[in-house]
C-alpha cells in the first residue's frame, strides 16, 4: 500500500509561461510593480550613516589599529622582543629588534625588550595573528580604523606611537546594539 502523504504535500508554485498577450500583460504589471517598489523606498528614511559626523559603532572584537601595552602597576612594557608576532605576521609588516635589559636600564619585565618595534600599517591586513601569537598579550588590536594619511612613511607606526594611549575616535558598540 502506497504511503499517503496527506497534508504534507507542498505544491510547487510555477510562474506562468512568458510570451503572448498574457505575458505582455504580466510584463507590464511587473514593470509597474517595480516602479511601485522604488517609489515606496523614496518615502522611507535613508538608512545610511553620514560618515565623518556619524560613525558606525564597532564591536568589542573589532580588529583596528594595534596597541602595545604596559603593566599598569610597574609601568614596564609587556613586550619582551621575542619576535613571535613578526613570525606570525602573514603580511610581514612587523619589525622587532630586541635588546637586553640591564638592571640600570630596565624597559620590560622579561630578559629582553623591543628596542625597535615597528608596524607598517600600509601592509598590515588586520588579521590579528600578532595578537594571537603574543605570549604576553603585549600587542592587541584596538578599535581605531581611521588611519588614512597623505604619506606612506607616516603609516609606519613606531613603538612610541603604538604605546601611546590612542585617541578613541571610534564609538564602541554597547551591549544591546
Amino acid at each position: 500500500m502506497a504511503w499517503n502523504p496527506g497534508e504534507d504535500v507542498v505544491a510547487v508554485q510555477r510562474a506562468p509561461k512568458p510570451g503572448g498577450a498574457g505575458g505582455a500583460y504580466r510584463a507590464f504589471g511587473e514593470t509597474l510593480r517595480g516602479l511601485k517598489t522604488t517609489f515606496g523606498r523614496m518615502l522611507e528614511r535613508p538608512v545610511v550613516y553620514q560618515y565623518p559626523e556619524e560613525k558606525v559603532p564597532v564591536y568589542p572584537r573589532f580588529r583596528g589599529r594595534h596597541k602595545l601595552h604596559k603593566f599598569a602597576d610597574t609601568g614596564l612594557e609587556k613586550c619582551v622582543g621575542c619576535s613571535l608576532c613578526a613570525a606570525a605576521c602573514p603580511a610581514d609588516c612587523i619589525r622587532v629588534v630586541a635588546a637586553e635589559n640591564t638592571p640600570e636600564h630596565r624597559v620590560s619585565a622579561g630578559e629582553r625588550y623591543a628596542a625597535v618595534y615597528e608596524i607598517n600599517l600600509s601592509r598590515c591586513i588586520f588579521c590579528g595573528y600578532c595578537e594571537v601569537a603574543c605570549p604576553f598579550d603585549a600587542i592587541t588590536m584596538g578599535h581605531d580604523y581611521e588611519m588614512s594619511d597623505y604619506n606612506r612613511t607616516d603609516l609606519i607606526f613606531t613603538k612610541e606611537m603604538l604605546l601611546a594611549e590612542p585617541l578613541e575616535r571610534t564609538p564602541l558598540r554597547t551591549e544591546d546594539e
Binding site: F39, M42, Q50
Partner: protein
Amino acid sequence: MSVLVPFAEVGFAESWWIQIIKAVVIFLVGFTLVPLALMLDRKLMGRMQMRYGPNRVGPYGALQPMADIGKLLFKQQFRPRTSVGFLFAFAPVISMICAAATFAIIPFGGTVDIFGTEVGLYGIDVSIGILFAFAFSGLSVYGLMLGGWASGSKYSFLGAMRSAAQLISYELAMGFSILGIVITAGTLSLTGIVEAQSGMWYIVPQFVGFCIYIVSAFAETGRPPFDLSEAEAELVGGYSTEYGGGRFATYYAAEYFHMVIASAIAVTMFLGGWQLPFVDPPTWVDPIVVLVKTVLVICVFVWARTTFPRPRYDQLMALGWKILLPLATANVIVTAIIVVVTD
C-alpha cells in the same frame, strides 16, 4: 509673416529685438534646467535607493552640479594622437546645439501682453512644429557619431555605432507615437496642439502613444535603462571614451538637456502644455505650469532609471522594432480610423 524666418510659416512673430531677448531668456531657462535636472537626478535617485545623494557642497548639496562642471572645465584638454582634431572638438558642440535648438519651439504659454507689446511665450511658433524637434533630434546622432569616429579609438567608434543604431531605431517609434496626436489635433504647431488639449489632455485618448513616447524618450536621450551608449561601467564609455574635461562636460550637459527637452515635449504633446484641468489661471502662471510639469516628467525619467536594469543590446533592438514600432503603428491606424469615423 516675418522676414526673419523665411524657411517655415510661423503662427505669430514679433519684431527682431523681442526675438533676441526671447532667445536669451529661453537659453537661460534651458541652462538653468540642466543643473536642476542633474541635481534632481542624483538626489531623487539617492532617496529611491534609501540614501541622501550629494549633500556636501552648499546647502543640501545644491551646488554639486556647479562643482562638477567647474572641476571638469578646469581639467586639461586631452586629445588622442589618432583623433581628428576639428571634429573631435566640434562633435560635443553639435550635441549641445541640437539640444538647445529644440528648446526654441517649446511653448511656455500663448501670446501675452507685456507692457503693451504682444509677446509669444515661446522661441518661435513654426508651422512644422514637432518636425523641427525631430529634425534636431535626428541631427544629434551626428554629435555622437562624429565624436566616436573622430576620437580615433575603436572603443569610441563601436560605442558610437551602438548608440547611433539605438537612436535611429527609437526615433521611428517616437515619431509614430506622436503621429496619433498630430492626426487628432490636425496641426503640427506645438501651440496649436496645446490649444487643442483644452478639453482633454492627450494622455487620456493617446495613452498608448504616451507610453511609447516615454519609453522611446528614455532610449532617445540615452538615459538608463537604455543607456547602452555609455553604460556607466560595463561597455567602456561608448562614444565619449576619449573625452574628458570641458568637452565631456558638454556631452554630459547635452544628455541632460536632451532629457529636459524630451520632458518638455512630453508635457506639450501629452500633458496639456500650460493648461491645467478645471482651473483657468492667469497667463503669467502658464510658464510656471509648464516648468513644473517638465520637472515632474524628469522625475519619471529618474524613477525609471532607478527601477529598471539595463536590457541587453538585442533586447533593446527587439523592444524598439518588434514591440514599440508595431504598437505605435497600430495606434496611429486606430486613431486615424476613429478620427475619420467620428469626423
